[in-house]
């Protein structure tokens, strides 16, 4: 508006308007804010690097004492016993067991609720359920662990009396509890991914006489697959990293087993238990924590890379 005024008046006077094109001030404030924002971004990178390095140094000290192959392929895990054994496989399989049972519960239930929320639920229902799901996600994991130990485990023994329920700890029950914990994660992210599918695609399918189920399963679901895979990968990461539930409900016996009623230690449970116990700085047992931590890190890293490739391959691009 001002500009038009200037042009008009100067045009009237018959002069070319001359207005400075240089910045009126050096804008120090803007530069400072830019530096601050960059520093905040850099901080998380720095912290990640720090964690990786601390894990790496500890792990290197560990591998000075224990050969890598003995650690990776050994089947006997007894780091604090004498004689000690450092075969990590029992606690790795413990973790995989938990992940398996957690996915068995969380993926079908999570995806089904996501399809319900995004395709079927009336707006009002969705607005009520989604925040509730997100609250469930925020329940302290120690509470879920107790719930698994005190409630789920006896319930499982009642419902499935024909199974051989040995002690109070059970990988199956712990895995199911972890699964309950991550249902909201799977449901919420998948719901977002499916709702992001353009309305036009749904209408196109409906206009061909497709039922709601078919539209959801054959059009919306495949179009959202990259988001759904991301949800599952996050769920796996969460299950791998979950500590408190497995510490309470899966027990501390490092053993290779596929039986869900057995107890088994996971990698995280080992770290949690050992790090909170009495442990002498500089001993092999101390460095073991770092080695297991580093292995956990590498496992999730590989999984994430794998997932990224998977997403790229199966992605159905839409405009």
């Amino acid at each position: 508006m001002t500009m038009r005024g200037v042009v008009a008046s100067s045009a009237g006077a018959g002069e070319t308007p001359r207005r400075s094109l240089e910045a009126p001030s050096p804008r120090y404030g803007e530069k400072a804010i830019k530096v601050f924002l960059a520093a905040c971004g850099g901080l998380s990178v720095l912290v990640t690097t720090g964690i990786v390095l601390s894990l790496a140094f500890g792990a290197i000290d560990f591998f000075r004492e224990v050969p890598v192959h003995e650690f990776l392929f050994g089947t006997n895990w007894a780091p604090s016993f004498t004689p000690s054994h450092f075969g990590v496989l029992p606690i790795v399989t413990g973790t995989l067991n938990i992940v398996f049972w957690a996915l068995v519960v969380s993926v079908p239930v999570g995806l089904a609720s996501a399809i319900y929320l995004s395709e079927y639920a009336p707006n009002r229902v969705r607005k009520t359920i989604k925040p509730m799901l997100e609250i469930l996600e925020g329940i302290p994991t120690v509470a879920i662990g107790l719930f698994a130990l005190m409630f789920l485990r006896p319930l499982a023994a009642d419902v499935l009396p024909f199974l051989d329920w040995g002690g109070v700890h059970s990988i199956g029950v712990a895995g199911v509890a972890v699964g309950l914990l991550i249902i909201p994660l799977v449901a919420s992210i998948s719901d977002d991914a499916m709702r992001a599918v353009p309305r036009g695609l749904r209408e196109g399918a409906y206009a061909l006489g497709a039922s709601k189920l078919r539209v959801s399963a054959r059009v919306v679901f495949p179009a959202a697959i990259s988001g759904i895979v991301a949800a599952v990968v996050l769920a796996v990461s969460r299950a791998v990293g979950e500590t408190m539930v497995v510490l309470l409900a899966a027990g501390a016996r490092a053993q290779i087993t596929a039986n869900p009623t057995d107890s088994a230690q996971t990698m995280t449970a080992y770290i949690g238990q050992t790090a909170t116990g009495e442990i002498a700085f500089g001993t092999v047992a101390y460095y073991t924590i770092f080695a297991v931590g580093a292995l956990l890190f590498v496992m999730t890293l590989i999984m994430n890379l794998f997932a990224i490739r998977l997403v790229r391959r199966f992605r159905e691009v839409y405009e």
Partner: protein, 305 residues
């Protein structure tokens, strides 16, 4: 007066856009559709009625979008719905195959018959309605799948029996797309041009063998060459199907349609809000050369809207 007007329009003359505006000889109307744009056609044959709309109104929640439309839509005709934005022509079109059901607040009042059967009857399944009454949308919306799977989606959905390869080829051929895509049926449909995508959507629609095709501004996102192809396609498809098309392009309505309905945004009875109303519905030639309502004339000649 009206006869004079018709002759004025029908007489061939070197036509430019400016020419029409400058011609003061045409007294009370300046129709922006040029005579050479009318398709050669005989008198419109009114075969059996495909749709009968009796006092149809469509509302979204409390707001009424279209009020009290009564019209018949005929078999093997192309019926065009024209009118300014917000006049409810898309809403009306979408009520014909119950696409409005997907919007929770939408409600249809009045009677809407398809070959005598109430489309909104208690036993009618909207999924079944849409198998019989297909739809092509404004923005090409192929699925993010291969060209083949796009066409096969509908037949697989409806459970049409037969050789799927054959069905796909037939649909793509009828949509005039087969020669362009026969060597890349497994490619993703998003690699096609906009015009090809829209013809794919038409192929996808006719693969289900509907009786009626509803088109909601099918060419508004396309260039003139693709538009021409789709218009030719519509004229071919008309031999088998009834087509109802919503268009903002009056030349297009004049070129392809047999019947034209003009809708307009009007004040409601209490003058507090606006809704769409059907102003005039007649043979396309009559609407464009000798409209019965001055509002139609004003709109077609570019005075309003």
């Amino acid at each position: 007066m009206t006869n004079h007007l018709t002759q004025e329009i029908a007489r061939p003359r070197p036509a430019t856009a400016g020419d029409v505006e400058e011609a003061p000889a045409v007294q009370h109307t300046e129709i922006s559709v040029r005579p050479d744009e009318f398709r050669q056609r005989g008198p419109v044959e009114h075969k059996e009625k495909t749709f009968e709309l009796n006092n149809v109104s469509v509302s979204y929640g409390k707001a009424r979008a279209v009020n009290d439309v009564t019209m018949d839509i005929f078999h093997q005709n192309i019926t065009a719905l024209i009118g300014p934005s917000g006049c409810g022509k898309s809403t009306l079109l979408r009520s014909l195959n119950r696409m409005n059901d997907l919007i929770p607040s939408a409600r249809v009042d009045g009677q809407l018959l398809y070959h005598g059967a109430d489309i909104y009857g208690p036993k009618v399944d909207p999924v079944q309605v849409r198998k019989v009454i297909g739809m092509v949308f404004q923005k090409p919306n192929p699925f993010p799948k291969s060209i083949y799977d796009n066409v096969a989606f509908g037949p697989r959905t409806t459970g049409i029996k037969g050789d799927m390869d054959e069905i796909v080829e037939k649909a793509l051929t009828r949509a005039g797309l087969w020669d362009e895509v026969k060597d890349r049926l497994d490619d993703n449909a998003y690699g096609m041009s906009g015009g090809q995508q829209q013809r794919l959507c038409i192929a996808r629609c006719i693969a289900v063998e509907p009786d009626v095709i509803l088109m909601d501004e099918p060419c508004s996102a396309l260039d003139p060459i693709s538009t021409g192809r789709i218009e030719d396609l519509m004229l071919e498809l008309k031999e088998r199907y009834s087509i109802v098309i919503v268009t903002h392009n009056m030349q297009q309505a004049a070129r392809v349609s047999d019947m034209t309905a003009f809708l307009m945004v009007e004040l409601t009875a209490d003058e507090k809000s606006r809704w769409g109303e059907l102003i005039e519905y007649d043979d396309t030639t009559k609407i464009f050369t000798n409209p019965g309502d001055s509002r139609t004339e004003d709109y077609i000649s570019g005075k309003v809207g």
